[in-house]
Amino acid sequence: MAIDSEVLVIGGGIAGMTSALSAARAGADVRLVSYKQSTLRHASGLVDILGYTPDGEGPLTDPYAAIPDLPVDHPYRTVGESTIRDAMALFDEAVPSYRGAHTDRNALVPTHGGTVKPTARYPASAAAGLASDERSVLLVGFESMVDFDGPHAAAHLEAAGVPFDVRGVTIRFPGDLRADAKVTRYAKLLDTDSEVSVGDRDRPVREALAERVGAELDGESRVGFPAVLGDDRAGTVRVALSESLGVDVFEVPMGPPSLPGLRLEDRLFGALDEAGVSIETGNPVVDYECGQPNGGDDRIERVFIEKNGARIPYSADEYVLATGGLVGKGVESDRERVSEPIFDCHVPHPADRYDWFETEAFGDHSFARFGVATDDRLRPTNADGGVEFENLRAAGSVLGGYDFAAEKSGSGVSIATGYTAGRGAAGVSA
């Protein structure tokens, strides 16, 4: 007897979680299964909708205004502008710690490379760092944290033409952290406000840190840190530092492992729990079966999850494929072809692998748009344009036809298509 649910979502990234949440909110009995760590740990934690057009025009001030001009096979065109708005409203409600919903306009957020990135939503921890805010900034880096260099980032921001004075300093983080301490180590120390030894006495780390930074402050109105200011208690840490320093404090989003990304993941999982979604992580979906294995039936009857070497059947009425793109391994390749590994859905791609990329590092790479094509209900389609399975929908970067990195549209597409696929799977028509 298979483990049963009305909707089975495969994949635990933003798209999968949004699908599951949308389906559950629409009244369905939902199960979400995910295999690997989600790519949110690689993501900055910023939630973008559209920062640039596919032609590279931008940064766009208003992402919604650019939707109608996107190519017809872009996932945003499939779901439409009003659905994107509804989906973002669901996100805003599920993740109240994010900002940016007060306006359609994009924000420009400084990131750890030292440039600014357009985004529609940003964690509250980054809110005081917006580049359109004209107050002066001090960027603080830590000596042994190679991923964020305060003076370098400050000089880079200046070169980007930001409308505020910005200066960077490098300080030694209080206490005796090893040179290769992980960001989570910093965050945990700050979360717990542990005692660290400074000079010849032990002091709470927040106070010691604020003192070192305070000594560097030279009239700046806000202070930016690499995004390590706490994990579970990030708000508390930020407020404590802000109060000690007497200025606003913000975090600069970083690369992997990204605490803002992991915190967002926690928030979304929390929302899923509240909505009654069953969640199972750590085991892969390896196969599927249709009702009549020898053809004639294009409904998925069950999928199989590999658990300790056994194949466990899971069945559902409707399935959502949210396994990610090349990065998340929802799209795979070998020397001959590009494929979707679970259901072998068709992934359009050039036959010659040397046509999968361009010569320039930031060229218009074909691989960046690899993913399944769908009908207008987000059901993957085969090479002839027919629906692969009646009861399978796709969401997020397993979808093809858009380059989330160049457009800065990854989270927005995942949220909008996750919302559409989840509601579709729960029987709500678009």
Binding site: A43, S44, Y52, G56, P59, S97, R99, H102, R105, N106, A107, L108, H112, G113, T115, V116, K117, A127, L130, A131, S132, D133, E143, V146, D147, P151, H152, A155, E158, A160, P163, T170, R178, A179, D180, D231, R233, A234, G235, T236, V239, P253, G255, P256, R263, D266, G270, L326, V327, S333, D334, R335, R353, F357, E360, F362, F367, A405, A406, K408
Partner: protein, 586 residues
């Protein structure tokens, strides 16, 4: 003529740098000119094999004898650049038994230690060898890091007073009264270390003698004085695997052929190669079939290669030469031997000799021979000492101990740093400031990166070849921006000696590194490495916005974007300031 002759050496590959060191140690005044980075040409594009001579033991025994002799010298003078992995010539059932016997006899004739091992014994050493491998001959092949070796030679030459100019392209030979009297060079960024954005310019360098060691580019140098130096460039592909599937050099025991060698190199294994004559050493096709052939053919020896991950492929161009009267049509028939072309004797143009052909393993011997030749021109009687005096980094083996505790570096970073730095480890790694890893794949720390920057200016590719930073599995995905920050360097670690470059310089170097790292990966874009490339692209483009960086492009109207809600709407700050207990993360 000045009391000490001034010699200009053209070419910063192993040959040129070997000559520069030798001449400088003999007391001559040397200027070395290299159009790119050190190892820019063929030296930086080889498989890293330290020949035992086994590969030439049948076809070219003179070369084989030179190889085993120099193999022993390099183990001695360049211990920190060499890993003695040992090598196997592996015979499959379909490979000729007669050739196997010939190979064995050839090795014996050339003085190359060689033992026959059974298939079972070979698999004991290398478990991933194919089950049906019959037997093998074991020889003292090794792996050598060409970058480290050339950099160490350059350091030694500089210690002996040589001037080393990289990114300085020879644009003309100065000829007066039937004699070459110097060179005209175009500096990419001014003389000295390369610094992006520094204005270049041309310089006439007068010399009492010029040595053309430009390898595959030697013909072009010859053209500048109307000389016919008919180098026949031949390309070969090398495909880098993400791990060492083998720890021993694996050769296929059969007559010349493509795709017949696997060299374990640092954290990777390098598959090689092909041999195809090309017209232009800078512009030749890099083809898919070549990469496919490496994987498919070498899988016959090590089956797991067919499913393994490759991280990039690159091509090198051998600067082959044969006297024009030989007239080989197949480049594999062209000798791997080297030739001194004294243009006074050959072309009636004094003041210059070209050295062409040859191979990396015997670079020092070539340097010795041409240095003898140069000294002869000036009647100088000075002994070659390059075979006896260790290179910087290989001077004192006793320092090669485990530095993990001493430098607070976790395994295996400490060990790897020390292996790379050899006897320089103390000087480089002893720092009061924290020394975090900048490149985690290759275990390269800040101190090593700063040391390399000090040597090579703002050029991150030059830092890369010195340290291996960005050369591991992620191919720079996680460390390119960190390296750029190290370059910017202001205030880092409170280390006042940290070299500082401005932001624009650091950004240009950063972009150049990203582009260089991308170039070789293009030939490895399927499977895991395509996923890695997609991740790198996403990290650089999404979070860092490097593809659309406003600093590189048009001015942005910042006022048109969201300036924040919180200061204008105090009510909203509640969400930020509230201490929501245990789960207020955001």
């Amino acid at each position: 003529m000045a009391s000490v002759p001034h010699v200009a050496v053209i070419g910063g590959g192993s040959t040129g740098i070997g000559i520069a060191r030798d001449l400088a140690m003999r007391g001559l005044d040397v200027t070395l000119l290299e159009q790119g980075n050190l190892t820019h040409g063929t030296t930086g594009r080889m498989h890293g094999l330290l020949h035992s001579g086994g590969r030439y033991a049948v076809s070219d025994q003179a070369s084989a004898e030179e190889c085993i002799a120099e193999n022993r010298v390099l183990r001695d003078i360049a211990s920190h650049c060499v890993e003695m992995t040992g090598g196997l010539f592996v015979k499959r059932p379909e490979d000729s038994e007669e050739y196997f016997e010939e190979k064995l006899r050839g090795c014996e004739a050339c003085g190359i230690p060689a033992d026959v091992v059974s298939g079972v014994e070979a698999r004991d050493v290398e478990p991933h060898l194919a089950r049906d491998v019959d037997k093998a001959i074991s020889v003292p092949d090794g792996a050598v890091d060409p970058f480290r070796l050339v950099v160490a030679n350059a350091a030694s030459a500089q210690e002996h007073g040589a001037r080393i100019e990289t990114h300085s392209k020879v644009t003309d030979l100065l000829v007066e009264a039937g004699e070459v009297v110097g060179v005209e060079v175009e500096h990419d960024s001014g003389p000295g270390k390369r610094v992006h954005g520094t204005e270049g310019g041309s310089e006439e360098i007068h010399a009492d003698y010029v040595v053309n060691a430009a390898g595959a580019w030697a013909g072009r140098i010859g053209d500048m004085a109307g000389l016919d130096v008919a180098v026949r460039p031949s390309k070969g592909v090398m495909t880098i695997m993400n791990v060492r599937q083998v720890d021993t050099v694996i050769n296929r025991c059969r007559p010349k052929g493509d795709a017949d060698i696997i060299v374990p190199h640092e954290t990777t294994a390098i598959l090689g190669t092909t041999d195809e004559e090309v017209e232009d050493p800078e512009d030749y096709p890099e083809e898919q079939w070549e990469v496919d052939m490496m994987i498919d053919t070498l899988s016959e020896l090590v089956p797991m290669l067919s499913e393994a991950r490759t991280i990039r492929s690159f091509w090198g161009v051998r600067p082959l030469y044969e006297p024009p009267e030989v007239g080989s049509t197949d480049p594999t028939d062209i000798t791997r031997d080297y030739f001194l072309l004294d243009h006074a004797e050959r072309d009636d143009l004094g003041g210059m000799t070209s050295i062409v052909g040859g191979k990396f393993t015997t670079y020092r011997m070539m340097g010795e021979e041409i240095s003898d030749h140069v000294c002869e021109q000036f009647g100088i009687d000075a002994d070659c000492r390059t075979a006896e005096v260790p290179l910087p980094g290989s001077e004192d083996f006793s320092v090669l101990r485990d530095y993990m505790d001493e430098f607070g570096l976790r395994s295996p970073i400490g060990r790897r740093s020390v292996e790379r730095l050899g006897s320089r480890a103390d000087a480089v790694l002893k720092t009061d400031a924290p020394n975090p890893a900048v490149c985690e794949c290759e275990g390269v720390t800040r101190a090593e990166v700063q040391d390399a920057i000090e040597q090579s200016g703002s050029d991150l590719n030059a830092v890369r070849i010195r340290t291996r930073a960005s050369m591991g599995n992620c191919q720079g995905g996680f460390c390119c921006h960190r390296l750029a920050s190290e370059l910017h360097g202001v205030g880092d670690g409170g280390d006042e000696t940290a070299v500082a470059y401005d932001e624009a310089t650091a950004r240009e170097a950063w972009d150049e590194l990203l582009q260089e790292r991308w170039k070789g990966q293009r030939h490895a874009l399927w499977g895991e490495q395509l996923s890695q490339a997609a991740l790198n692209y996403a990290l650089h483009a999404t979070t860092q916005n490097r593809d659309r960086d406003p600093a590189d492009g048009q001015a942005v109207d910042f006022t048109a974007f969201d300036g924040g809600s919180e200061r204008s709407d105090p009510a909203d700050t509640a969400g930020v300031a509230t201490d929501g207990g245990a789960r207020d993360g955001n």
